[in-house]
Symmetry: C2
Subunit: 97 residues, 2 copies
């Protein structure tokens, strides 16, 4: 592989990553909108916001979907961050109302 070939491959890979990242951002926001709908229903019905059993199901679904190469514990840490950020957003929105 020449240096020029390496640079060309890297550029193509980076374009691919940028495209994947844009799709990830869109999906994260889509998820956030559904979480908001759930929050609204729960607030309306005076239902508890945090349900540990449902959270277990979320992680079970994620682990079952993971075919690698990312290890399960890495995927879990990524989703812990995602879920935590969405919970914070919910709290901010509900506090603002």
């Amino acid at each position: 592989m020449t240096l020029d070939e390496a640079k060309g491959t890297l550029a193509a890979c980076r374009e691919e990553i940028d495209g994947i990242d844009r799709r990830l951002v869109a999906l994260l926001n889509e998820r956030s909108r559904v979480v908001e709908r759930i929050g609204a229903v729960k607030a309306n019905m005076d239902m508890p916001v945090y349900e540990p059993k449902r959270e277990d199901m979320v992680y079970a679904n994620i682990m079952a979907a993971n075919g690698g190469p990312i290890p399960d514990d890495s995927v879990r840490r990524i989703f812990e961050r995602i879920i935590d950020e969405m919970r914070t957003l919910q709290r901010t929105r509900m506090g603002a109302k």
Copy 2:
């Protein structure tokens, strides 16, 4: 809204979230495979693994793609976790070779 209606809406929302999560997991693994290809090219060419300028571009792309409702700083924290986990995976793989 009756309790039954609320439960029905919640069930539908949760099914939607599970579907989104499965797509997120698939995309994260797709991203990871591209990162691996980059790592292989760099190892082959003795190029530096960490390039701060490229990282800035990754975040710029993500921020530009973010239309909300998730705030920019939340999206950034989520991607910091994603990028960190992928870097760890790269290090483990390269160490194993």
